[in-house]
Each structure stands twice: as C-alpha cells, then as structure tokens.
Amino acid sequence: MPDQTAGRHADTPANEQAAWRRSARLTINGADYTVDVETRATLLDTLRDELGLTGAKLGCDMGQCGACTVLVDGAPMYGCLLLTIEQEGRAITTIEGLAAAGELDPIQRVMIEQDALQCGFCTSGQALAMKALFDHEPHPSDEEIDRALAGNLCRCGAYVKLRAAARSLAGR
C-alpha cells in the first residue's frame, strides 16, 4: 500500500487565514445568536462546541448515522454535513427547542411513555425526524412512519417502540 501520510496537497499560506473565519447570525430554537466561526465549521460542531447545545450527537461525522439530525426550516437534515455559515436566514430547531419552556412536546412525552429510547444517543434525532413527519402529516401510515425514521440509526434497537410511539401519536 502506498504511503498516504505525507498528504497530497500543499498547505495554504497563513496570510489567507483571515478569509477562513466569518461571523454568522443564526436563528436557533427561535433565538438569535451571532457566532464567529471558521468557514469550515459544521453546524453540528457549532451547536455543540460553541453554543453548548449538545443534544445533537456526533456519531459518525459523515451523514451515516442520523444522531446529528436537526430541523432546518422544519426539514430534518444532518448537522454534520451542513456548514454553519450557510445557515444564516434559516430557522434551526434542535432537540433543546422541542420542549418549549420546559413543557415536553407530545412526541417526547409519548416516546418516554412507550419506552421508544434506550441509551438515548439517537433519541434527539429520532424525535426531530418524528417532529418533521407529524408537522407534515398528522396521521401517517405505518409505511410513512418507517420511511420518515429510516435516516436515524438506533443501535440499541428501539425501533419497535419508536413505531409504537408514532402510531400512538397518529391516533392508532
């Protein structure tokens, strides 16, 4: 195997470094934040490391697990594959914004009642994926439920209870 460790590209000169940072105005859970971040900062890193919103989890950093799911203008997306500076003007919802003023969202309440969580690491993402589903379709079919949650891996296997929670929310 060839030696890859030397790196394939030259480094960019230090005098360009000013262009690598930017301040960005973000709207997260209804509140405005101004952050000074690197252009390469992902929304997930900004939420977690800059703003202390650690409900979104880093599970793979490659959009292959779903633990970093957040809502962007109501649509679920992977925070690890979004650049922070591109999120200006969009409304971000994280798990911390779901229980407004300490009152659990019905989704969270039912997930707890039905035990639709085990270790809890994927739970934030599952709850937000479910939120997007029910905002869009209050009475989803079983197939729609499965399709809506197909982008959130749960290694503990809470899927049966996640289905039960979603069915309960759908009035079944």
Binding site: M1, P2, Q4, G7, R8, H9, T12, E16, Q17, A19, W20, R22, E38, T39, R40, T42, D61, M62, G63, G66, T69, V72, A75, P76, M77, Y78, C80, L81, L82, L83, I85, E86, A129, A132, D146, R147, A148, A150, G151, N152
Partner: protein, 329 residues
C-alpha cells in the same frame, strides 16, 4: 476538513465568473453539500475556495411545460421531486427513483445537480488508498473486495455511479443544461457521466468552470409509463446493488417505444439499447421481456465477488419492462 474561503453567488452566471476568476482552479461549487463535505472530511477534495450556489434561487424548482417537456432546476432537492404531485403525475419514474435514495434528511439536502455530480462510493476510492481514479497505478477493487463494483468493464476503474436519479433520467432521455464562460450548452446524460479515462480520472466530464443549471426532459409519448426498481442489501439507506429504470410506451399491446437503463452495473448508468431494440415493435410477452433482459446483460464481465449482480440485473430488467408495461412479473 481543510480551511477554505467561502463566497455565495446568486446566479449561475455569477458562479461561472467566480470559477473563471480562480486561475489556480481550486474552487469548488457547493449546493446541498452532502457529498462535498464527506469528500472534504476524507481529504478527497481540498478546495481553497467554496462557492455557494444555494442563493441562486432561479435554479430551484420544477417546471412542467404545456408542450409536455419538463425542466428541473439544478438546485431542486430530491425531497422536492419526491413530493411534487404534478411531476409524479407526468413522470412517475422520478419520484419512484428518489423515494428509496438515501434518507429523508439527505433528500432534503441533496440537489439534482449534486446528485449527478457526486463521486462514486467505492471503498478504495473513499478510503486511504492511492487508487487509479485518484491518480494511482491500480484499481484496488478490480482484484480486491469488489462486491459492489461494476459488472461491465468500461475501463481501469470499476466503481459504479451511485445515483438513483441518473438511471431514471437516462430512461427519460433527459439532457443536462450547463452554462460556462462560452454560454449555455446541453449535454446528454451519457455525455456528462461516463467511464473515467486516463486523460480524465473522474466520473463526470463537466469542466471546472461550468455549472449545471437544469435537467430538461423531453415530452414523453402519450401513454408512456415508467418504473424504477432498486435492490439493496438492507431495506433503506443503501446504494443500489442494481437498479433498473424502464420507460415504456405500449400501443395495443405492442411496444411502441422502450427505454431501459440499469444502475449499479457500470461506471455510468447504462442504457440497454439492445434490449430496447428487441422490444420495440413487438407485442410484449413475459418471454420477450426475459429475452430482452438477457440482452441487457450481454457483455458483462463480472469480477470475483459481484457475479450475483448479473443475475440481479437480468431479473430487475425483466421486472421493470413488465411492470412499466402494466404487466405482472
């Protein structure tokens, strides 16, 4: 991920100008970003400047022209295609193709243009291996772990194009509208996505200073029906092992026009023209469909671990032909 400079543009023309001004050629467009950021995190792409096309709102949306043709802006997301009721009515093959692509999250992010331009998913390409496509001497998959690799041998690289949308667009004979310094031009899908060559170690042909603006789909014959079938090794969140897109027009039980494309089998989505030729003008029977499916896999050269794909491709082609014709398989 390496550091980069970031700028946003509000039109394709502005993007072309920005790309053009970068004499070093180290700029890169970003739309949904799902693939680009994955590549950058793996250090497979290292642009020094990223040009954000998302504010170019004119590039987003689906237009159903009265003449039957359809235009899909390059920034239209896969989710928008999935949910577009009028598009589903006119070209049901498209929502069918994106429905099982990736995940809801990725379909919300991923754009049509980015979907066509995404890099392949071969683990040697994505991993720390100096493979041929990255400028190295050899294709590691060819004699290595190649269960997901191509069964048609089109060149040194055996990676398959991962898009679900592309085989469907190929079956619709869509063209890709691009703008560049010299203005606008249209490419066929095979002209955009094609087997890498020694001179172009890349899955796509688009020069660095051109931008995809839209996909144009010609009017389909009256009564044309399309299906997209996909096999995965789990039931969601997997690239196609093999996929088949068929767009069939039957008149009185006779095949007036057949378009069949396979995904997951070659460097690019593959039109099965021999199969189409066999079908056209004939009355469709299960036997004919099976024969056509056999044609669709003629010339395969499977590798050590992907022989199963031949059987899959043949079966999926047969099913797609029959299903698009409204017949049971």
């Amino acid at each position: 991920m390496r550091a980069f400079e970031h700028r946003a543009v509000s039109s394709a023309e502005e993007a072309v100008a920005a790309l053009q001004s970068d004499t070093a050629g180290a700029s890169c467009l970003i739309a949904g970003g799902a693939d680009l950021l994955s590549l950058m995190k793996a250090d497979l792409a290292a642009p020094t400047r990223i040009i954000d096309l998302k504010p170019a709102h004119a590039l987003r949306g689906v237009t159903l022209a009265p003449d039957g043709s359809t235009r899909i802006g390059a920034l239209t997301t896969l989710a928008e295609i999935e949910r577009h009721a009028a598009l589903a009515e006119r070209l049901p093959i498209l929502p069918a193709a994106v429905r099982d692509a990736a995940t809801p999250q990725l379909r919300n992010m991923a754009t049509v243009g980015g979907n066509l331009m995404q890099r392949n998913r071969c683990w040697y390409f994505r991993g720390p291996y100096d493979c041929w496509l990255k400028g190295g001497q050899q294709c590691f998959a060819r004699d290595g772990q190649n269960k997901y690799s191509a069964i048609f041998d089109d060149g040194p690289c055996v990676a398959v194009h991962p898009s679900d949308l592309a085989p469907a667009l190929l079956a619709l004979e869509a063209t890709v509208e691009v703008v560049g310094p010299a203005g606008q031009r249209a490419l066929t899908l095979p002209a955009l996505i094609s087997a890498p060559t020694a001179a172009r170690r890349r899955e796509t042909t688009l020069p660095a200073n051109e931008v995809i603006v839209a996909i144009n789909i010609p009017a389909q014959p009256a009564g044309a029906r399309g299906v997209y079938l996909k096999l995965m090794d789990r039931q969601a969140w997997a690239y196609a092992l093999v996929s088949a897109a068929a767009q069939m027009t039957l008149v009185d039980g006779r095949v007036a026009r057949a378009r069949l494309a396979l995904g997951g089998v070659a460097n690019a989505p593959r039109r099965a023209q021999a199969a189409e030729a066999l079908l056209e003008g004939q009355s469709l029977t299960p036997e004919l469909a099976a024969l056509a499916a056999e044609r669709a896999v003629e010339g395969v050269q499977p590798l050590a671990h992907n022989g199963y794909k031949v059987q899959m491709a043949r079966e999926l082609a047969r099913r797609a032909i029959l299903e698009a014709a409204g017949m049971q398989w």
